[in-house]
Symmetry: C2
Subunit: 499 residues, 2 copies
């Protein structure tokens, strides 16, 4: 067998993994949007079968042998193939670093914890979750140690690498520091400024069916290809699928259309990235997104930088009025913009404005590191959470469900994930600055309803590269430098304190 | 390895096949109900992967070895296990009789023919399909020969056996003869009688949303467990799923609510059977339905014998009026009953009344046998179809799309399938007679909205046995004899010429 033959065989294996994953996407979408409540048992078994199946391809000895062979003469491969081989190896290392018993222990611990998390939320009592979260953390620590040994890095860096390849604790700590030292007094200044303005008109109630209709209209305007995707409703907004069939959801609140609308924009940002990835590599690891920080940057970019801009509001205010059949000062483009840019000391990350959002995330990342290292005991989490909320946001929850129980990430074993939200918004602001540098007319075009210049730039800068470059290389190519939080701070100052 | 150990290992393998099939069900449901139009490419690949995967378990040498071992001391197994082993072997024989190249040829030929069938329907021209249908028939013939050799029966009997285990050409020809010699003059007599009556009030238009609402209400009354199932809309009504998650659909026509309503009853009949199968055997071959003739009998039973009865119409007329907000003579129970029992010389099987329905099916079965044996050339099918329509139903289509192109069965390679519809209605009438013999009060209970006696009887007689008995044994146990078309003829005479 020639080395290139080995590479071809690997492509075939990863094509199969891609197909298995695409089925899993659909099953998860259905589980959240369509599935009858009593069918969760068989759904869990179906998902577990697909997971086991693709894991067994990834973890098979033969895949390792093929990787070794293909790498011995990687020189005969072209640039994309080499990058693909690198990504295959990366996935292989992550999957093979962990012994089988730990895979099972992780599955058991997170299934248990997820179940108790739901109960804990219902009962507004973290103590229902605490012992199960302890087990998850123990397993996650072990997982981090194994993967860290394989990658030659610390256990926590190994977790970061899974979701945001190449990212280190040092990187994120630097960004934390830059933002957490600046944002609190920026927020104070913004709040003072906003309270001095005339009061914002609150949005009046709008039937959910009309909100969905608006969502579909704005997605259409943005270029969402409805022949390969859908918009539906679920408890939490999400995006599932591959470029050949992407399903996004939002949640809709009769009394607050903006939540659902921003959810649609956020998820459309995710979806447009997935659609924009190069078709020729759709079934291969190199054809996927470059990690969750970049993915999140695309969602936050469309929701925050574009969706909460004056230009966008000027474009869509008439569409909103037409779709809702509303009129009056509350529905003016100016008032809608003010609604979308209200800064608030609020409790829930998912509802946070773009200025306080990073602090919500930093709080989680810091607590997560402390839980992981053992500095913070699980049972003290609610107290630590509330203390940090008071410190960073200036407000603390009455109960746990709007406090340390509000996200499912930790019970599900997602440690090292929250930082992708933070890097996501930092990257989004940096991309926004580069976009305007490269195309000064882009916001005026958006105001006219022409989104082609925006998506052409995103395509050239981000989408078309998929996972070919490292995140650092990708950002340098698009913006001239690696992730730099100064752009976010400058963006906030310009938008909230100068304009 | 002990023989019982071999049996246990087989159960494990078939549990995996069950899970893979259950994923396929969901993907097919989604494909018809939810999927964006442009996503059919990846969906076909996903389904093919699942099919290949479960086929490879069934066709693996190891499964054959385990079957041999388990059979050497089947005496140590209990009755259900023995029946399960018999069913496993049956599936194994069908799957292993065919060489790999033929599996692929079947897949290619039917995929091509299906595509051209859709075009042919659009263009109302059978010639678009003809050459592709010829290829399908050639492959199906070869398949029949291989399976026939393995089962020790004729090639066509081998095809019948796949969908209705144990059924032979001799069986169905006998039933054809009994029905096709009686029905045409029965139909003439019924039409004469109906034309002498006062005219039926046609149904007025009803919004589709209300029709769906009615569908859900009547399903609820029948006991459909909505926490494990759904009702949706699709081009053709169908049922997909396992007892843990069943999705049924109907099609809804604003101008003819009865079509959608009867579709709901038909599919609910399928679903109630699937739900009623014994839970302990849910993942095993013996826990499935006893072939498609029995399955179809359950659907036709609920749609025809129950749904198109005076008692049922008396029960649901007030529900219909309430749900639709309608009133007047057209919506009286009496007029609705007459609407549901109108006999018509019509062109389309799916819209046929219960009296002409068997002739629509017999026509297909006869033509199919002639196509299969080569007596009828494919290019002469439209003419042969129209001739037989005139002979049996007394009306012939203007074009092919309402003629020999109206079903997708043949392009998809489903030969030996149509007869299950015929046996289904014969069995349904026979069960209806036995039900009334065992429980003379059952229709009065239905009129009162009490469906428990009906479903208790079906559960005891059919559902609880799954595939443990042969079809013949199952029918003898429930009714005292094997399938007998005299019950259907007596049912028609009593309902349409006497009552």
């Amino acid at each position: 067998m020639s080395p290139n033959n080995a590479y071809q065989q690997l492509e075939k294996r990863f094509r199969r993994i891609h197909l298995l994953r695409s089925i899993g996407h659909l099953l998860r979408w259905d589980g959240e949007v369509m599935m009858p409540s009593g069918s969760s048992g068989i759904r869990a078994e179906q998902l577990s079968l697909l997971e086991t199946e693709s894991n067994s391809i990834l973890r098979s000895r033969q895949t390792g042998v093929l990787l070794d062979r293909a790498e011995t003469s990687a020189g005969t491969l072209d640039g994309w193939q080499q990058a693909n081989l690198r990504e295959m190896r990366r996935l292989w290392v992550h999957a093979n670093a962990i012994p089988n018993r730990l895979v099972n222990a992780f599955h058991r611990a997170t299934t248990e914890a997820d179940m108790h998390w739901r109960r804990a939320v219902e009962q507004d009592d973290f103590r229902v979750l605490a012992p199960h979260l302890e087990k998850v953390i123990a397993v996650v620590r072990e997982k981090g140690r194994f993967v860290g040994a394989a990658l030659g890095c610390s256990a926590y860096d190994a977790l970061l690498d899974e979701h945001d390849p190449g990212r280190t604790t040092a990187d994120i700590n630097r960004v934390f520091h830059e933002l957490s030292s600046e944002l609190p007094h920026l927020i104070a200044a913004i709040l003072e400024r906003q309270s001095a303005m005339s009061p914002v008109e609150p949005a009046t109630p709008v039937a959910v069916a009309r909100q969905k209709d608006l969502g579909r209209r704005v997605m259409k305007a943005l270029g969402f290809p409805f022949h390969k995707g859908r918009l539906d409703e679920s408890l939490h907004p999400f995006t599932e699928g591959t470029a050949e069939d992407i399903r996004i959801t939002s949640r809709f609140d009769k009394d607050d259309f903006l939540t659902g609308f921003m959810g649609v924009l956020h998820e459309t940002g995710h979806a447009m990235y997935d659609y924009g990835l190069p078709q020729a590599w759709a079934t291969q690891p190199v054809g996927r997104d470059r990690g969750m920080a970049i993915h999140e940057s695309q969602a936050l970019f469309l929701e925050m930088m574009i969706g909460r801009s004056r230009s966008f509001m000027n474009f869509c205010a008439p569409m909103i009025a037409r779709t809702f059949g509303t009129q009056g000062a509350g529905w003016s483009s100016g008032n809608l913009y003010r609604l979308a840019t209200q800064v608030r000391r609020s409790l829930v990350r998912m509802d946070a404005d773009e200025v306080t959002y990073p602090l919500h995330v930093i709080l989680r990342c810091e607590l997560e590191e402390e839980l992981f290292s053992g500095v913070l005991e699980v049972r003290h989490l609610p107290q630590a959470w509330n203390d940090k909320m008071r410190l960073y946001i200036g407000v603390a929850p009455g109960g746990d469900s709007k406090g340390c129980l509000q996200d499912s990430h930790w019970p599900l074993g997602y440690f090292g994930y929250f930082s992708t939200y933070l890097m996501g918004i930092v990257i989004a602001a940096q991309l926004f600055s580069a976009l305007q540098r490269d195309n000064p007319d882009v916001m005026r075009q958006i105001e006219l309803g022409n989104f082609a210049p925006l998506f052409d730039w995103l395509d050239r800068s981000i989408y078309c590269q998929a996972a070919k470059l490292t995140t650092e290389q990708l950002l340098e190519r698009a913006t001239g430098e690696d992730a730099n939080s100064a752009y976010f701070l400058a963006y906030v100052r310009a938008k909230y304190l100068t304009a």
